[in-house]
């Protein structure tokens, strides 16, 4: 089936993502930043849908917007933010940081101006149906070993987080 109004939705979600990202790095209150980040992540899930990646979009919503951001909000509630809101928000290296980021942006622009010919104009034929099934076959077949390593990594992260956050073990 041909996609409907792809440019319109691409620019809509791209604008939502960028505005959300800008709000994340400029808000004083971390709670506002977290909410803006959730909006940006949901817009990004929509962009995944436009790229025919429904499984990654679902993982993005459930795990990122649902799981990680709740963790963030809990921690923001645990630490007191009253003092940090009244403080200066940007550090003393902000000018140098902006210059470094601008240089990186210039590098990106140069790469994409020069590299456009490398990318094909149109998307090649991609697997558009059975996406979840294909991802599962690949995850449990070809990528079995990285998958197990990832579970080990999560175990280590859980233990590490508990050890560091707990007062007395």
């Amino acid at each position: 089936m041909a996609p409907v109004a792809t440019p319109f939705f691409f620019y809509l979600f791209a604008a939502i993502m960028l505005v959300g990202g800008i709000m994340v790095i400029t808000r004083k209150n971390p709670v506002h930043s977290a909410l803006a980040l959730i909006i940006a992540l949901l817009a990004q899930a929509s962009i995944y849908l436009m790229l025919y990646a429904p499984f990654v979009a679902g993982v993005q919503i459930i795990l990122y917007a649902g799981g990680i951001m709740v963790l963030f909000l809990f921690v923001i509630m645990l630490v007191s933010i009253d003092r940090s809101i009244r403080e200066r928000q940007f550090n003393s290296q902000r000018i140098a940081g902006l210059i470094a980021a601008t240089a990186l942006g210039g590098l990106f622009i140069a790469v994409y101006m020069k590299g456009t010919s490398v990318f094909p104009e149109h998307a090649l034929s991609t697997i558009e149906n059975d996406n979840t099934q294909q991802v599962a076959t690949m995850l449990y077949g070809q990528s079995m070993f990285p998958f197990e390593i990832a579970s080990l990594l999560l175990l280590v992260a859980i233990i590490g987080a508990v050890v560091m956050a707990k007062k007395r073990i």
């Binding site: 800008i22 790095i25 971390p30 962009i47 990122y64 630490v79 928000q89 550090n91 990106f108 998307a123």
Partner: protein, 105 residues
């Protein structure tokens, strides 16, 4: 007008680069540790966007698998980072990253 109306892989890559830059600016300039961690999430998301866009371009699924692994790493990173943040807050009563200077020479 024509290159703007026809969405190609480059459009997604430019969007990812813009998001990456926003994350870098956040990491380099903010003083609040929570917002620095959120900026790192922005950077990881920009990478994920690139991976999925390339996956779409080549018609395979390797990029999507990689994106899922990156999301797993982001979850682990967020858990450990926030654990460190709680330990830091307990010791110093602040979330200001400039106060993390115990090892500074």
């Amino acid at each position: 007008m024509e290159p703007l109306l026809h969405i190609t892989t480059t459009h997604y890559l430019v969007l990812g680069a813009a998001l990456f830059l926003l994350g870098v600016i956040g990491v380099l300039t903010r003083r609040n540790v929570v917002i620095v961690l959120m900026s790192i999430e922005l950077i990881l998301n920009a990478v994920n966007l690139n991976l999925v866009a390339f996956s779409r371009m080549w018609g395979g699924l390797h990029g999507q698998i990689f994106a899922i692994f990156v999301i797993t790493d982001a979850a682990a990173e967020a858990a450990v980072g926030l654990g460190i943040l709680i330990a830091f807050f307990r010791n110093k009563e602040t979330v200001n990253i400039d106060e993390v200077n115990l090892l500074k020479w």
